[in-house]
Amino acid sequence: MSRERERFEEIGKKIKREADAWPHQMAGIRRPMSGPPGTLNTITPCAACKLLRRRCAQECPFSPYFSPHEPHKFASVHKVFGASNVSKMLMEVPESQRADAANSLVYEANVRLRDPVYGCMGAISALQQQVQALQAELTAVRSEILKYKQREAVATLIVPSNSQVAGFHNSGGVSVIAPPPQRPTTPPQPTTAHPPSPSSCVFSQPTTRDLEYGNIESENNYFG
């Protein structure tokens, strides 16, 4: 859990960095309109006060985060969480993190409106499925690479010319082939390479599959 928290905080920092530009832009937009403390924003109320048809005061909790140019942002949050709940949730957070909180509420509200039954839980579940599928595929491909390298190692053992015929037989399963031809006096010239059989792409699978799946599953228990 603590490790997940650390990762979570890392991601939080990334998100915060990305979001930094947004409040600056907002501040730039708002600044020319603001007057002395207590003055009403009579020119352009924020999206929240516009939707709720009320006066937008200088201390309005929504105005820094819900620009009048993006009314749909507040509309979705208002429908899913309610204005008073959004206000409470923003006030509970340190001011320096309210922009991130507002943006995450907008995101969650949009997901909830898009999928009224499963909401963000559905998105999280789908992503967890995708992570598991990708991990399984990666494990399989890496195992196949290992098999190829092992075959390469075996192939080098039968290359020496003095044991060529014997080594070839020892690789097994060649007894059904016609009797080996007589040794040629001169080696033939190599011909154009044939592409490997498509079936070779699915040649190998790890024998420890179940164990690895168990490990993979535990990693995805984000809220566990």
Binding site: I11, G12, I15, E18, W22, V80, F81, G82, N85, M89, D100, A101, S104, Y107, E108, R114, D115, P116, V117, Y118, G119, C120, M121, G122, A123, I124, A126, L127, Q128, Q129, Q130, V131, A133, L134, Q135, A136, L138, K147, Y148, K149, E152, V174, I177, P184, P187, P188, P190, A193, P195, S200, V202, F203, S204, Q205, T207, R209, D210, Y213, Y222, F223
Partner: protein
């Protein structure tokens, strides 16, 4: 449940009102689990939850309530990022795995191309016709029976697109549908624009 004489549901108890027979909350918020409604009420508000449930067919309301409880818990646990933190973390994981998979697949292509000249160096192989080469490959497969069995599993995983039966839940079809629905919008939508 509901009606005079029986105990009110968790929501009517918290909101101190009468629990009518047709109370929309009663089937999903039993009085013995008051925390469930309390947290949903705090994050979404009772009237919003009521509206959301009314807009859904009855057979989907239980799932909706469970997901609302899940999200409310996430929001209370992390008031800044809520579920978005988990979604962001998982999206990063998907990106990293996709890159690693691309690297591994490129490596296996290189190995396959390198293997072809090695075969040509054996003049015994050159003496064999195409049928004998195929027979040789089959013999190699026979020598790796266990690997061959695993091949089948891998083929199934490949043919099924992204899902392997070992990971599928009883609602695997629903999960796949959700993934199809959710993946494109999530990819198209930028979180911060």
């Amino acid at each position: 449940m509901g009606g005079p004489g029986s105990s009110p549901c968790a929501s009517c108890k918290l909101l101190r009102r009468r629990c009518a027979k047709d109370c929309i909350f009663a089937p999903y918020f039993p009085p013995d689990d008051p925390h469930k409604f309390a947290i949903v009420h705090k994050v979404f508000g009772a009237s919003n939850v009521s509206k959301m449930l009314q807009e859904l067919p009855v057979h989907q309301r239980a799932d909706a309530v469970n997901s609302l409880v899940f999200e409310a818990n996430a929001r209370v646990r992390d008031p800044v990022y809520g579920c978005v933190g988990a979604i962001s973390y998982l999206q990063n994981q998907v990106s990293q795995l996709q890159m690693q998979l691309a690297v591994a697949q490129a490596e296996i292509l290189c190995i396959q191309m390198q293997n072809e000249p090695t075969l040509q160096s054996h003049h015994q192989v050159l003496e064999l016709d195409q049928d004998h080469k195929a027979l040789l490959l089959n013999n190699n497969n026979i020598n790796n029976c266990n690997t061959n069995n695993n091949n089948n599993n891998f083929g199934y995983a490949m043919s099924s697109g992204q899902f392997n039966s070992n990971f599928a839940s009883p609602s695997s079809i629903m999960q796949m549908q959700m993934q199809m629905q959710m993946q494109d919008p999530l990819k198209q939508e930028s979180l911060w624009t």
